[in-house]
């Protein structure tokens, strides 16, 4: 079953770019939020996900902070 994937990013962040490239290359659909601009998304990321680092990648019931290919593969069953 396809999971909802949200990724919170900032424009200058290389690991955000790597994470998005990984998702794209593996055909994973995701919603991206630029937390440098989008204040509501920033609130959501820092308060709800309790994360203070980008990329923050949210799944239905888990949050990954940073780009860790192995963990991401495991989470997505790739």
């Amino acid at each position: 079953m396809a999971q909802k994937v949200k990724i919170y990013t900032t424009p200058g962040c290389p690991y955000c770019r790597m994470a998005k490239k990984f998702l794209n290359d593996n055909g994973v659909e995701y919603q991206e939020f630029n937390v440098a601009e989008d204040k509501a998304a920033r609130e959501e990321m820092t308060k709800k996900c309790r994360s203070l680092g980008v990329p923050t990648i949210c799944f239905d019931n888990e949050i990954l902070v940073g780009f860790n290919e192995a963990k991401l593969r495991q989470k997505l069953g790739l």
Binding site: P14, Y15, V35, S51, L52, G53, G66
Partner: protein, 303 residues
């Protein structure tokens, strides 16, 4: 067995790859990322041919040039060890894969130095960051502390005084960065500078709440309320994987001569991980070229 394995795909490693490919060396390039430290560089204004280019874009151009050639690339894994077997080399990666080659070019660059104080590891990603350009925007309208006194600390402070409520700059030494940056930063009304102060602890449970610092001379301690800690205290070489194989200097950099040779025949090194003076993109690229040409010469002699 490859003729050459290049470890690291920053400016040095990727330039070496192009030179090796043009010599038709059977080459493998192994790297965790493509672009290395330049990925973390916002703007580059001193790489010839470009008056201004963003770091990631420059590295994309390097990558496109590498991919013009039929060489093997393994991205997403780190070399954990390099060992010598009967004059050849074996590279083992963190994915437990092994590759063999007759020669090595080691170009793994540097990474941010850590403070090594209580709270730093625990609060990483919860207010502690080594990437101001990434995480800076998360601390808009908060109080933040930038640790360090060199150019990268000053650049972090410069970007944060524009968006944070209050910025503390804490440096062990007097400010050592370029005067042009010092001038830009030190007049800001929301910046407070603590020179010759050390960080003792980063405090907080689920996120950073403050830091404890101490003046080097008076030994007086102080606590600063802050939601973010930007650690910008320099870089250390990524040389752990080869510390048993080649000679490192006291900074952990690989000792090379002007032909990029280490004290082990067939083992070459290039770029910021070496003792070459000046850590610059243009220097690293040039060193990568030299290392590949020297490796080619070495492999010719083996035949």
């Amino acid at each position: 067995m490859y003729e050459l394995i290049i470890i690291g795909a920053g400016p040095a490693g990727m330039t070496a790859a192009v030179y090796a490919a043009r010599k038709k060396l059977n080459t493998l390039l192994i790297s965790y990322d493509v672009g290395g430290q330049v990925l973390w560089t916002a703007g580059v204004e001193n790489y010839m041919g470009y008056q201004f280019i963003e770091g990631p874009e420059l590295m994309q151009k390097f990558e496109e040039q590498v991919k013009q050639f039929p060489l093997d690339m393994k991205v997403g894994q780190r070399a954990e060890s390099v060992s010598r077997i009967n004059g050849d080399f074996e590279v083992r990666t963190d994915k437990l894969e092994t590759y063999q080659a007759k020669a090595i070019i080691f170009a793994t660059g540097k990474r941010p130095r850590q403070l090594n104080v209580p709270g730093e590891k625990e609060l990483l990603g919860r207010g502690v960051t080594y990437c101001a350009i990434c995480d800076g925007p998360l601390f808009a309208d908060e109080k933040v502390a930038v640790i360090g006194g060199g150019n990268s600390a000053l650049e972090a402070a410069e970007s944060m005084i524009k968006i944070a409520q209050q910025v503390y700059l804490v440096s062990l030494t007097p400010l050592t960065g370029d005067q042009i940056l010092i001038d830009k930063v030190t007049n800001a009304s929301n910046l407070t500078i603590f020179l010759e102060h050390e960080v003792l602890e980063i405090k907080g449970d689920s996120r950073v709440e403050g830091i404890r610092i101490r003046a080097l001379k008076s030994k007086q301690e102080m606590e600063l309320d802050t939601g973010g800690v930007f650690v910008e205290i320099g870089l250390i070489p990524n040389s752990e994987a080869i510390k048993e194989v080649v000679t490192l200097n006291r900074l952990g950099e690989v000792e090379v001569n002007c032909a990029n040779e280490t004290d082990v025949p067939g083992f070459f090194a290039a770029g910021d991980v070496t003792n070459v003076p000046e850590k610059q993109i243009v220097v690293a690229a040039g060193e990568g070229a030299k290392a590949a040409l020297q490796a080619h010469r070495y492999l010719q002699r083996l035949k």
